[in-house]
Symmetry: C2
């Protein structure tokens, strides 16, 4: 399981409540690991029971109290252990690829429309990531340590979106060419 470790990473950067974490998983960390708020609350409870984090109730003005979580020494130890452990291969799982392979059993034109929609989605995501890259890392050459790590993960996101765009373009081009040939 990696959600508890993703939470440990996020809490290592800064202590947070369940809702704070939920918001972080909606942006930065969420770009490469997603989680719903229910999942986060449930996991936080288990982690506290296991002694990886401890919580403190903090009163707020004009808002309900919140429970702020913090990583314990045991949590830091677990994080280090997990970091060094081999990562199991995550098999590729793409609904889109299943559909592309199945296109001849349905309406091909609609599948091409799906491809065009996905292409637009991935172009938007690429623009988002490149915007963050230019805003937060205008000069990547001098980076080191934690900042370099964050930059390189973002680069992974950029490259991933570029992959989708390139492949979907190849897909659409090839089918456009095949279709044109049929018409002649």
């Amino acid at each position: 399981m990696a959600l508890e470790h993703a939470i440990l990473v996020s809490l290592s950067e800064r202590a947070a409540s369940g809702l704070d974490l939920t918001r972080r998983f909606d942006k930065s960390i969420g770009y490469f690991w997603t989680a719903s708020h229910q999942q986060i609350y449930r996991t936080l409870s288990r982690m506290e029971k296991d002694g990886w984090v401890r919580s403190e109730v903090v009163a707020q003005q004009g808002r309900p109290d919140k429970k702020v979580y913090d990583v314990t020494a045991a949590g830091r130890e677990e994080l280090g252990r997990w970091l060094a452990a081999p990562t199991p291969a995550q098999p590729l799982r793409s609904e889109l690829m299943v559909k592309f392979r199945a296109a001849s059993y349905g309406d091909r034109e609609q599948v091409l429309d799906l491809a065009r929609a996905k292409l637009a989605e991935h172009r938007d995501l690429l623009a988002l990531y490149e915007g963050i890259e230019q805003r937060d890392f205008p000069k990547p050459d001098g980076l080191a340590g934690r900042e370099l790590d964050m930059y390189l993960v973002l680069r992974g996101g950029v490259r991933m979106e570029q992959f989708w765009i390139d492949w979907l373009t190849e897909y659409l081009d090839a089918h456009t060419r095949a279709h044109t040939k049929d018409e002649r």
Copy 2:
């Protein structure tokens, strides 16, 4: 859910038993959608109950009987419906990216070793896919229809592996450079 649809696609290509399907999910289809045999048997039962497939017990010589499944008209209809339906965005989920981002909270050298191991894995996969590409599609230019679909999905696999290789190489290079600088 896409497993039932992946099964419909595979059964559309050719009728099969649960174990046949398990073997297909270990190779061709499995390159972009995986499933264990228990999952397949369970899903086949449900699909038969829903009327998407029908089964026939076939006696074999020297082996236990097998139940061969076949797509019904309702199954073909469902497949067509699913093909045209929009595909929800699948958020990226990469344990490796979480680890890379967290490297400063553990032993960085071990994380670099993980990256090198992943790089080797993806090089192997790329070689596998490129081997299939050259064996099955030596002349991709004339392809159309179902063969073109299969070729293009394979191209997606090749490009995906190439993405991992390129990014991991960038990651290792950047950290090698940062480390060298520290030493000076």
